[in-house]
Each structure stands twice: as structure tokens, then as C-alpha cells.
């Protein structure tokens, strides 16, 4: 690339190079494609890991989260950043009539952007140095250079717009100025403020940046390309400059006000949410006006123009319309509560970045490329590129939108979480397959720009201009009466006044958005925190803080949200909605915007330690349908050999929801009194299982009637999908996870269980063990599982037990067992409350003789059941075995 900068054939002498630095257009275009290929490769690996989660498991570098960070930052800063810079080097000199500020500065900016921002950014996030803020994942050290890059870009491109003699500004110029200036303001706001304000406040600013990244950086520069290329390629002015400027001001007013729509139904004040929702709806109206103007500007060119650059631009407009209308609708509460966090949103963001912005970027590059006299140009390959990309993005968008609808329906239905994962897999496979035409399209684009005869692009311009020139009608230019009436001598003065008005208005718009959607909600949240926080809240320990950093580094928040929304489905599945004070120690927030796995806001104390460790080391060992990546690098080759990092991560997970749980009831009672009029806050206090996860393991005893069982086939399928990993296919407690869990999973063959006993365990789980509660399953499915579990039993029958043996057994039991198992054998002896694992209830459970003897001889690891072979004789063990079997009463 750098050699091209200096070795462009006759570049210094050509007409084009006197005004436009074609070397930098070329260099940034190549850098754009280079970083695009890297970002696409990261994206493909990430998409494969959805259904082949073991890819890259042995390496800490290629974990899903880190690759995802690199993918999105690569697309935004690497691909689009370079593509926009390439276009600016072509467009700004034509718009201003003079070259950019400095060719030397251009080389520094190129080097800085690619070799100090993008490539080190990739290396750092893959090495584990990042920040968990959406669209701001490069670490703060890189952010400093991004800001320097934007300052250099402003110095490079903006002075020409303020030169004497320029007496009006075309709409592309406005978008370029707006895009560069406001990104320079928004970038530090979005990258730094979430690091210094906590939880919900951090999310409010993060939400602003998510939309500013799209609305103040990507969209303005993409629209600058569209407004530039259309008249340049068709040979006719745009339909209405008035409408284009109306759109410009509408977009710059409304885009920054959209930010909070990423957190609808959250604890962020409802006024800010509703404001963002209203702004989202209005934005859709503005976009319709913008798109109408753009399409009318294309009249006569057809839907598939011959000029390839223009063709990409046309498709970009179509994508822009679809994605904007979709965005306006999905911000509305009725749709948002269903599709938010699903792949619907991922489809939306891909259509925005890979559809609208990428097609605009390619259109801009091809348009500029045609005007580089020494550049090669292969129109056939570019045609292929267009069609392959349209096909690929069309498939991806449709597929992910459908996946989102499926996920939304399953989540609303209350079905177990893994049902949605399972149902999504075919869509995820198709999404990966859509990468074939997309990658093919990008390769064809590269081929189109580096093969073919030199200068062929310019021939295309000549042909098109000749074709279009006959259609051109020039209205007369403006009179000067408007200027005179405004009391200025010329329209140049009007431009000066416009700059002043635009600067004041633009800064006001930006400040208003930060004030209304960032600062004001922050004040309200601060007030909530100070009023509602319980008197004593445990601060995170050092280990938990380290664990949080690991959680952030690995991108866990990109699959697991930590915000329970104020919706029925969320409350039912995850517990009481998140209050502001719960995140008061979260810098930055880890709320997340996507749920591939379940929300973890109240995940603490829902699983045992060894379950968590095994789950981190080998997720599918305990949850066969899980697609979570393995984090084997946190262990020394075995799940029972965790490194300190695994313990830290576990400590952090165990802390999630703890503050809220131990605050009950005092904290909530006080807070409820303060917020009696706030129906949203009351939703949080009125959740069914107040402060814990609804699926948390709870003491045995109470469970509902499950009713009629689902079919045996359903039961068997549920068994295979959820139970085999621990209990084994044949129920012998020998699943792949069994050897790592203490106590080991029950051997269901060697036990006989009453229906109530199994129902109790399925509903409540077993405290102190890895047996979790399965209350998220439908009752008829739980009833079917009871039958499956009971079907494994093969405890045999005991004959010829004489009275003496039973008498001896009673004596042994009374002397040694009643303290834990109770006089009646119900597992409720006086010592029970002190034991981490409840003793066996012999009334509802009967073991085979062999199993009982084995337990008496060896005890049960991980429980309080000790070996008795040093205290009881074989006869005594046999006698007590016979005796306890008598308790059983199905």
C-alpha cells in the first residue's frame, strides 16, 4: 500500500492529482479492504462458534467475545473508517475547489489510523485488553489515538470549507463537517464517560454512543457519499437541495436523541425512554423524506444503473430505508419487549453497517476509483461483487430477522432458555452460509479494483456523462435579493452566517441530547440510588473485581445481559427488575444488548461451585445444548484444577444479585414506601420471587401439581437434552459431568423414588448439590420426566428379612442415623438444618441393597454422609439397610 502511495504512475503530473491525492484514495481503499477481510474473518469464526462452539476453545485469543469485539470495531473503524477517508480524499477537494490541507498530514493520518488504531486495536482486544462498551471495544489507550485521528481528519478536510470565495455549501459538505465534528464530540463521551459513572448511568451514556456511532459518524458520511455520487454519476443535480438540508437538520437533531431506545423497559427514567422512542418514530419520518429525495434524484437512472458505483449507492438507499423504518418500529414498546435482545436486532445492525453503510462506502470507493487514471478497473468483477453482496446480505438479514421472531416467541412463551438456542441453530447455520456470497462479493470487489486495464474507470465516466447530459435541465441560479434582505453584501456572507447558525444549532442539538438522555437521567438515577440503597451493601471483593474484569474481557456481556427489564416475561424468567442501586459499583455497566444465553443479573447462588467450574471448562459436559465457549485457558488442563482467574470469575458470578438478595426485606420495604407512586419501581418490588432468581434452588417441601404428563417421547427427549450429561444415558449417574461433581449425580437405577420425591427435586432442586431446579419447564414436561426417572429404577426386591435383622437395624439406626435422617426416616433430623446437603428422605426414596451398603461403606463425597465401615459391622450395615427400606412409602 505504502509503495502505491509513492509509485502511482505519473500521479504527480496528472490532472486528478493536482486537486485530489489519488495515492491516498488508493491507500485508504486498500486499507479498507484489508481490514474488512480481517473483520469478516473474525465475524465468520464468531458465526461458526454458534453451532461449533469448540472452535478456538483451546486458545484464549480466539474466544467468541474477543473475536466479536474485533469484528465490530474492525467494521466500524477499519473498514468504514478507511472507506470514508478514501472518499473524503476524493470528494472534499471537489466540494471545496482546493486540495486537502496537507499531503504529508495525509500520510501521517493514514499511518495513525491503520497502524496505531486499527491493527493494534485488533491485537489488544484479542490479547484481552478491551473495554466492554458496545461500539467502543478498543481499549482506552487506543481511544486516545482515535480522537487524535479525528482531530487530524478535521484539520485535513475541514479548512477548505471555510476558505474565502466559497459562497455556498452542498449537502455532502454539511454532512462531512457534521460527521467529523460531532464524532469528535461524541467519541470521548461514549468511550470515557461510561467508565466513570456507574451502572444504569453508564448504560445511559453507552446507549447514547451506540446511536451516535451510527447516527453521527456512519450515517452522515454515508449520506455524504450518496448525495455526492448520485449527481456526479447521473449528470443531474439532486431533486431538492431544500429537502436534503431538511433531512440533514432533522437527522442531526433526532439521531442523538435515539440513544435510550437501546434500554427500553430498563430502570433508566421512563421520560428518557419515551423521549427516545418518540425521537425514533420521528427519525423514521425524516428518513422517508431523505430517501424520497434521493430516489427522486435517481429518476431516469433505473433501479439497476449501469454505473457500478451508482448501483451500490442505489442499493444503499434501499437498505437505508428498510433499516430506518425497522429501527423506528422496533423502538416502540410493543415490538421492543418482544424482539429486543434477539437476532432481530442483530439483523438490524448488520443491515445498517453491512448493508446501508457498506454499500455507500463501496459506491464511494468505486466512484473515486473510476477517477484515478492509473488505477486498474475490472467492471465485470465489480458487477459480480454487487450481486453476491446483495444476495448474501439479503439472506443474512432475512434469516436473522426470522430467527429473532422465533426467539422472541419462545422467550415470551416461557419455554426453557435452551429451547430458543436449539430453535435458533438452523438460522445460525444459514447465517454462516450467507457469509459465502458476502465474502465472495468482497473478494470480487478486491479483484475489481486491482485487475483489469488501467484507466478503464474513466472510460465509464465518459460513456455515462454522454448518456445523461441530454437530460440535464439547469434552473437559473439564485438571485441576490435574499442576501440583500438579510442585510449582507453577498451570499458568501450568508454562508458565514450559516456556519455560525449551524455551529450553534449543531452544538446545541448534541448538548441537548447529552443533557436530556445522559445527564438528567443520571441525576434521577443518582437520587434513586441514594434513596433506595439499603443501609449496608457489600462492596465487591478484590477477587470479584478481578472476576468482573475477566467477564468484561471475554465479552460475556455480549451474550448474557445483566439487566432484568420491567416486562412480564423478564420478571417471570429472571426475577425482580434491576434497580439502579444494584449497579452502583459497576464501572462501566455490563448490561449488554443481546441475549444468546440467559440474563445473569441474579445468577449468584443458583448453581454449585463445581457445576460452574465444569461449565466454564466444558459447558456441554453439564449442558449438552449449550453453545457457550469453553474457557479452558482459565484452568490447568482439568475442571478441578482452576487457575486463580477461574476462581475470580466464579466469585464475580456468585456475587451477581447478592446485594439485592440480602437486602430483602428491609431495603425493599423502605424503597417501596418512597416510591409508592412509581408504578415501574413497584413492578420491581412486586416480582413473584422477590429478590432471587426464580429458578434458584430452594428447600425441599413445596411443589405444585404437574397434571397430566407429556408423551413418553417428549420425556425421553427432555431427558437426553437436559439430564444425560450428569445422570448418564442409562440413569446410572455416570454422565460425562459426573466425575467432576460432588456429590455425584444420583444413580437412578439403584434408587426407587416416589412421584412426589422426584417432583420435589425437579421443582426445587437439591441444595448443596449440582441438581438445579427446573421450574422453567412446563408442568406436563416435568410430569413426563418423573416417569422417565422412575423408569430407570431397578432396586430389586428383598426377601427373607427376619425380625431379628430388622430389630438390629432399628437399633443401629436409632443410635447412629436419626440425628440426620430423622426418627421416621424423612430426612428431617434435628441436625439437618446445619448440613449443606439435606439427608436422604427414606420415606420417598429407596436404594438397592448394594447401593445402601456402598454408601455405608464409602460415605458420599461432597455431603455430610461419612463412611461407617470403621464403626459398623457388615451385619449391622446389612441390618440397617433392611430397616431403612421399610420406611419407603410410595
Amino acid at each position: 500500500m505504502s509503495s502505491k502511495l509513492s509509485s502511482a504512475p505519473n500521479s504527480a503530473d496528472s490532472f486528478a492529482d493536482k486537486l485530489v491525492d489519488t495515492g491516498l484514495v488508493y491507500a485508504h481503499s486498500m486499507a479498507a479492504l484489508g481490514t474488512l477481510f480481517l473483520a469478516v474473518i473474525f465475524g465468520i469464526i464468531v458465526s461458526l462458534q454458534f453451532f461449533m462452539p469448540e472452535i478456538g476453545a483451546e486458545s484464549s485469543v480466539f474466544t467468541w467475545g474477543r473475536l466479536r469485539y474485533a469484528h465490530t470495531q474492525g467494521i466500524m473503524l477499519g473498514w468504514l473508517g478507511n472507506a470514508f477517508l478514501a472518499f473524503l480524499y476524493h470528494a472534499v477537494p471537489i466540494l471545496t475547489g482546493k486540495p486537502v490541507s496537507s499531503r504529508v498530514l495525509g500520510r501521517w493520518l493514514f499511518g495513525l489510523w491503520n497502524f496505531i488504531v486499527v491493527l493494534p486495536g485488533f491485537v489488544l482486544v484479542l490479547a484481552g485488553y478491551s473495554q466492554p462498551i458496545e461500539w467502543a471495544e478498543f481499549p482506552l489507550s487506543i481511544d486516545v489515538f482515535v480522537i487524535v485521528g479525528f482531530i487530524l481528519a478535521a484539520i485535513q478536510f475541514l479548512p477548505g470549507f471555510f476558505r474565502p470565495g466559497l459562497d455556498d455549501l452542498y449537502v455532502s459538505s454539511w454532512y462531512i463537517i457534521g460527521g467529523l465534528v460531532f464524532t469528535l464530540l461524541a467519541y470521548p463521551m461514549g468511550n470515557i464517560i461510561p467508565e466513570i459513572v456507574p451502572g444504569a448511568e453508564s448504560a445511559a451514556f453507552g446507549g447514547l454512543w451506540i446511536h451516535d456511532a451510527v447516527g453521527l459518524f456512519v450515517t452522515p458520511l454515508a449520506l455524504a457519499i450518496l448525495y455526492f455520487v448520485i449527481p456526479a454519476a447521473t449528470g443531474r443535480p439532486i431533486f431538492s437541495h431544500f429537502l436534503s438540508m431538511f433531512g440533514f437538520w432533522g437527522l442531526f437533531f433526532l439521531y442523538p436523541l435515539n440513544g435510550t431506545h437501546h434500554y427500553v423497559f430498563s430502570v433508566i427514567p421512563m421520560a428518557a425512554q419515551l423521549g427516545a422512542i418518540a425521537a425514533s418514530a420521528l427519525l423514521g419520518v425524516i428518513v422517508v423524506i431523505v430517501v424520497t429525495n434521493l430516489l427522486l434524484s435517481l429518476r431516469g437512472s433505473g433501479w439497476i444503473p449501469k454505473d457500478v458505483g451508482l448501483r451500490f449507492v442505489v442499493m444503499s438507499i434501499v437498505f437505508y430505508l428498510i433499516v430506518s423504518i425497522q429501527g423506528s418500529f422496533q423502538a416502540q414498546m410493543s415490538l421492543n419487549q418482544a424482539v429486543h435482545f434477539t437476532d432481530w436486532v442483530v439483523a438490524h445492525s448488520h443491515l445498517a453497517m453491512l448493508g446501508f453503510a457498506t454499500f455507500a462506502g463501496i459506491g464511494g470507493i468505486i466512484h473515486a476509483w473510476q477517477r484515478i487514471p492509473w488505477a486498474r478497473y475490472n467492471v465485470k468483477a465489480l458487477n459480480w461483487s454487487f450481486w453476491l453482496l446483495v444476495l448474501g446480505i439479503g439472506i443474512m438479514f432475512t434469516d436473522l430477522t426470522l430467527a429473532g421472531i422465533v426467539q422472541a416467541n419462545l422467550w415470551l412463551s416461557g419455554a426453557p432458555w435452551l429451547d430458543s438456542v436449539q430453535a435458533s441453530k438452523p438460522y445460525w447455520v444459514i447465517r454462516t452460509l450467507s457469509a459465502i456470497p458476502i465474502t465472495g462479493g468482497f473478494i470480487a470487489l478486491f479483484v475489481g479494483l486491482v485487475t483489469g486495464p488501467r484507466g478503464t474507470g474513466a472510460k465509464a465516466i465518459k460513456l455515462d456523462s454522454k448518456q445523461q447530459s441530454s437530460l440535464e435541465v439547469r434552473p437559473r441560479l439564485a438571485s441576490t435579493s435574499f442576501a440583500k434582505e438579510l442585510g449582507v453584501a453577498s451570499s458568501e456572507h450568508i454562508l458565514r452566517m450559516s456556519y455560525l447558525a449551524a455551529s450553534v444549532a449543531g452544538l446545541t442539538f448534541f448538548a441537548v441530547s447529552v443533557f436530556l438522555l445522559g445527564y438528567l437521567p443520571g441525576r434521577v438515577l443518582d437520587q434513586q440510588i441514594s434513596l433506595m440503597t439499603p443501609a449496608y451493601v457489600l462492596r465487591p471483593s478484590v477477587s470479584e473485581q478481578r472476576g468482573r474484569a475477566i467477564y468484561a474481557r471475554e465479552g460475556c456481556a455480549y451474550c448474557h445481559t445483566q439487566q432484568i427489564r420491567y416486562t412480564e416475561a423478564d420478571i417471570k424468567r429472571f426475577g425482580a427488575p434491576t434497580l439502579a442501586w444494584e449497579g452502583q459499583f459497576d464501572f462501566p455497566h455490563l448490561w449488554g444488548t443481546r441475549r444468546i444465553g440467559p440474563d445473569l443479573a441474579r445468577a449468584g447462588s443458583t448453581r454449585s461451585t463445581d457445576w460452574h467450574l465444569l461449565h466454564l471448562y466444558s459447558p456441554r459436559a453439564v449442558s449438552p445444548l449449550s453453545i457457550m465457549p469453553s474457557y479452558q485457558s482459565l484452568f490447568d488442563d482439568a475442571p478441578d484444577k482452576p487457575k486463580q482467574e477461574a476462581y475470580d470469575l466464579l466469585a464475580f458470578i456468585e456475587s451477581l444479585g447478592r446485594a439485592r438478595e440480602i437486602a430483602w426485606p428491609d431495603g425493599d420495604v423502605a424503597a417501596r414506601e418512597l416510591y409508592l407512586q412509581d408504578r415501574w419501581a413497584l413492578m420491581s418490588f412486586d416480582a413473584p420471587l422477590l429478590n432471587a432468581h426464580p429458578n434458584k434452588t430452594q428447600p425441599k417441601g413445596e411443589f405444585p401439581e404437574f397434571g397430566e404428563a407429556a408423551t413418553p417421547e417428549v420425556g425421553q427427549q427432555l431427558w437426553t437434552e437436559n439430564c444425560v450429561s450428569c445422570h448418564g444415558e442409562s440413569g446410572q449417574g455416570d454422565g460425562p459431568a459426573a466425575e467432576w461433581l460432588q456429590p455425584r449425580p444420583a444413580n437412578l437405577v439403584e434408587h426407587e423414588y416416589s412421584s412426589d420425591s422426584v417432583a420435589d427435586v425437579l421443582w426445587n432442586g437439591v441444595e448443596g448439590t449440582s441438581m438445579s431446579a427446573w421450574r422453567d419447564m412446563a408442568p406436563q414436561n416435568l410430569a413426563a420426566l418423573i416417569k422417565v426417572v422412575q423408569g430407570f429404577s431397578n432396586v430389586g426386591s428383598v426377601i427373607d428379612v427376619n425380625a431379628n435383622e430388622l430389630s438390629l437395624g432399628e437399633e443401629v439406626y436409632t443410635d447412629n442415623c436419626i440425628q440426620c435422617h430423622g426418627l421416621s426416616g424423612d430426612g428431617n433430623g434435628f441436625a439437618t438444618s446445619e448440613l449443606p446437603v439435606a439427608p436422604t428422605d427414606f420415606i420417598n426414596q429407596r436404594s438397592s441393597v448394594a447401593q445402601s451398603i456402598s454408601v455405608l461403606q464409602n460415605g458420599i463425597d461432597g455431603s455430610s454422609m461419612a463412611p461407617w465401615n470403621d464403626r459398623l459391622s457388615v451385619d449391622e450395615m446389612m441390618a440397617v439397610t433392611f430397616y431403612i427400606r421399610e420406611f419407603y412409602n410410595d
Binding site: 449528470g235 437541495h241 425521537a279 439564485a478
Partner: protein
């Protein structure tokens, strides 16, 4: 309150803009002028580029 401010703020900006456009013909001409000037600039650039290509 905030919603009203956004909605009415947007409407006021739109109304002022559209009223000015309907009422002032010279404003209409003034605001459309940049597109013609840009058209001249971009075509001049292209034509000179093509001329040079033809010479070479």
C-alpha cells in the same frame, strides 16, 4: 415532558423550514443553488479528467 419537547421541537424546526420555503421564493432559489454549483464543479472535474485521459 421530554417527549413533548422532542416532538414539538421537531415540528417547529420543520414548520419554520417549510414556511420559509413556501413564502420566500428567493430562499427557495438560494437553498437550491448549492446543488447546481456542485454539479458544475463535479462535471468540470470529470470533463478535465477525461480530456486529459483522451490526450494521453
Amino acid at each position: 415532558m421530554l417527549t413533548n419537547a422532542i416532538v414539538f421541537g421537531s415540528l417547529i424546526i420543520a414548520l419554520v423550514y417549510f414556511i420559509a420555503w413556501f413564502v420566500r421564493r428567493d430562499f427557495r432559489e438560494q437553498i437550491e443553488r448549492p446543488k447546481h454549483r456542485f454539479q458544475d464543479q463535479v462535471e468540470e472535474y470529470d470533463s478535465q479528467l477525461i480530456q486529459q485521459e483522451n490526450k494521453s
